[in-house]
């Protein structure tokens, strides 16, 4: 049962749909057979042309400005403008040891997009990092990869070796005088490593507790040096922006979208054709759900859906007309997150689903700050009681209190706010399911079995 005989986990619809360089900058190079695209083929498909342009024809400030003008935003879930993040890096020549980190710790529940890019297009990430490092004057980069992605690690390491041998990494790259070395660093498993300052602590060989911000990593990052942390998909957008230009990039999204370019979007759950597709920002969630994923499997009805990961709120079927871009999803009350949506069908109990989700968030709390460390297990305890039909009348109030007390700005990092976002929206839309878990007090009084959670 060798992994070598099996297709890569990331092979799916993204390999099968019709793709062009003009419309699918991230995925057009994917092979129909799902095998990785190595250096020779990558270069034949125009690979490293953008890096050549950036390193030999463009000033560093021009690369930063191009990415700013393109309106590229982080693809890891938070959606912070990449050009602005890059602009925070110091320009002072005396601070010449700088790092570029790629956040490849993809662990958000229901997210499998970076895996596709790293398993099948490792050189796209390397080219994106090379151009970005040049723009930021970083001399060294690390790809912080989650430990479970063993195929991605193997492919990235092989691709780094290929690039080194071809003079695309190392010293005096492409005759530009620019030096950049790149390492693949594999993690050892904790969700919190995806938080950028926790990632920095983990890379330094420490427990992955988040750091206080400010100072931001751009000022004090890994080993105290200016550091920029970008997501895999974000970095993979850079070659096309530099190679094909801002005007082209800005023409990709659908009318009405304030975000530019394309996005790896997905739909999973009990849909007919679960998968991942590169789509322009601004497509409606309905298009993603019905045209790409084929709607629900026979016998299942869509009850609600989550637009992009465990940390985003639930939306109802009527919200499927929302456009998939940050502002479009914000209009219906939550965040787009990673853009990989999950269908929740009518056979799923919201109380049980939230119990499963909060068990995950509680387990993965790093334990650093009290509201998160104590609040999340508390929510689990209550949800388990409600699931058994042994909740108390106060429980829903307590849960809503936790939603409030663990919300944005009240904890050390964004872990707990992400944990309570789906909880708050689940109670908002499906309150009766939670109320049904409250033990009948009259029965409790007669049987004497009622134990408050």
């Amino acid at each position: 049962m060798s992994a070598l005989n099996k297709p890569l986990a990331s092979v799916g619809p993204a390999n099968r749909v019709t793709r062009t360089e003009e419309t699918h900058p991230l995925t057009w190079r994917l092979r129909d057979d799902g095998q990785p695209v190595w250096l020779e083929e990558y270069q034949r498909k125009n690979g490293y042309a953008a890096a050549r342009k950036a390193l030999t024809d463009m000033a560093q400030a021009d690369i930063v400005q191009t990415v700013k003008d393109a309106g590229l935003k982080g693809r890891g879930g938070a959606g912070f403008p990449t050009g602005v993040k890059w602009g925070l890096m110091p320009t002072d020549e005396s601070m010449n040891i700088r790092y570029l980190l790629c956040n490849a710790d993809e662990m958000e529940p229901n997210t499998w997009k970076d895996r596709l890019l790293m398993e099948q297009l490792p050189h796209l990430l390397i080219e994106g990092m090379l151009i970005s490092a040049r723009a930021l004057k970083a001399y060294r980069g690390y790809i912080f990869l989650r430990g479970e992605y063993v195929d991605a690690a193997r492919h990235l390491n092989r691709a780094v070796a290929e690039a080194k041998a071809a003079g695309l990494l190392g010293t005096n790259i492409l005759g530009s005088g620019f030096d950049f070395e790149l390492f693949v660093h594999t993690g050892a498993g904790r969700y919190i490593c995806g938080e950028e300052t926790a990632l920095i602590n983990s890379l330094e060989g420490r427990r992955a507790n988040p750091r206080a911000k400010p100072p931001f990593p751009a000022v004090v990052g890994v080993w105290g040096k200016p550091t920029c942390v970008n997501n895999v998909e974000t970095l993979c957008n850079v070659p096309a922006i530099v190679g094909q230009g801002v005007d082209w990039y800005k023409s990709l999204a659908r009318p009405g979208s304030e975000d530019h370019g394309t996005k790896l979007m997905g739909f999973s759950g009990k849909v007919k054709n679960p998968g991942l597709w590169e789509l322009p920002f601004g497509v409606s969630a309905r298009e993603l759900f019905e045209d790409c994923a084929g709607g629900m499997r026979d016998g299942y009805t869509l009850k609600c859906w989550q637009p992009g990961g465990a940390g985003t709120g639930f939306l109802l079927p009527e919200h499927l007309d929302a456009q998939m871009y940050a502002g479009g999803i914000a209009k219906v009350g939550t965040r787009m997150g990673t853009g990989l949506a999950l269908a929740i069908d009518d056979s799923v109990s919201m109380v049980s689903l939230l119990r499963n989700m909060e068990e995950f968030f509680a387990r993965e709390s790093c334990g650093w700050c009290t509201p998160c460390r104590d609040g999340l297990p508390w929510s689990v305890k209550i949800l388990r009681a409600l699931e058994r039909g042994q909740g108390s009348r106060e429980d829903i109030k307590t849960l809503l209190g936790l939603v409030n007390h663990l919300g944005p700005g009240k904890t050390f990092c964004a872990h707990a706010p992400g944990a309570v976002e789906p909880l708050g929206s689940a109670i908002k839309y499906f309150r009766s399911e939670f109320e049904a878990g409250v033990a009948d007090p009259s029965q409790a009084a007669t049987t004497g079995q009622f134990v408050p959670a």
Binding site: W112, E148, G205, G266, P274, G275, L276, F360, E364
Partner: protein, 165 residues
Amino acid sequence: MTDALIKTDRFVLSETERSAIEHEMHHYEDPRAASIEALKIVQKGRGWVPDGAADAIGAILGIPASDVEGVATFYSQIFRQPVGRHIIRVCDSMTCYIGGHEAVVSEMQQQLGIGLGQTSSDGRFTLLPVCCLGNCDKAPALMIDDDTFGDIAPAGVASLLEAYP
């Protein structure tokens, strides 16, 4: 006295382990950064990280053994007790929950006679939960050692396990 209590084994790094750790150190500005990789190097050959490894790794990296231990106990892929020959990691994230992972887990528990976090009495399997494996279009998903599997049904568990003697 304290030493005798803490060091339950006479741990010595092999030459291969030592040179692998020293090689890793040079990838970073500060040797401490190699601590996680060092633990993985030890675990690779021994299956787990014995108590004395923290001292030995700390000595090479120039950091206290307590810091190495702090790292070892933080990360879920570092094992501080012996595990089975094969590690089963069952994804328990919401997508796999909807896909029916709980039925897969109970089938495994029944076949192996163990609960999550335990090792079968023949030392063959350790069963662990894991965060989203990024295989959500093929839920429920799991890993056995380095192999990822998707669309697992309880009925397929027996034949899956057979492939790992």
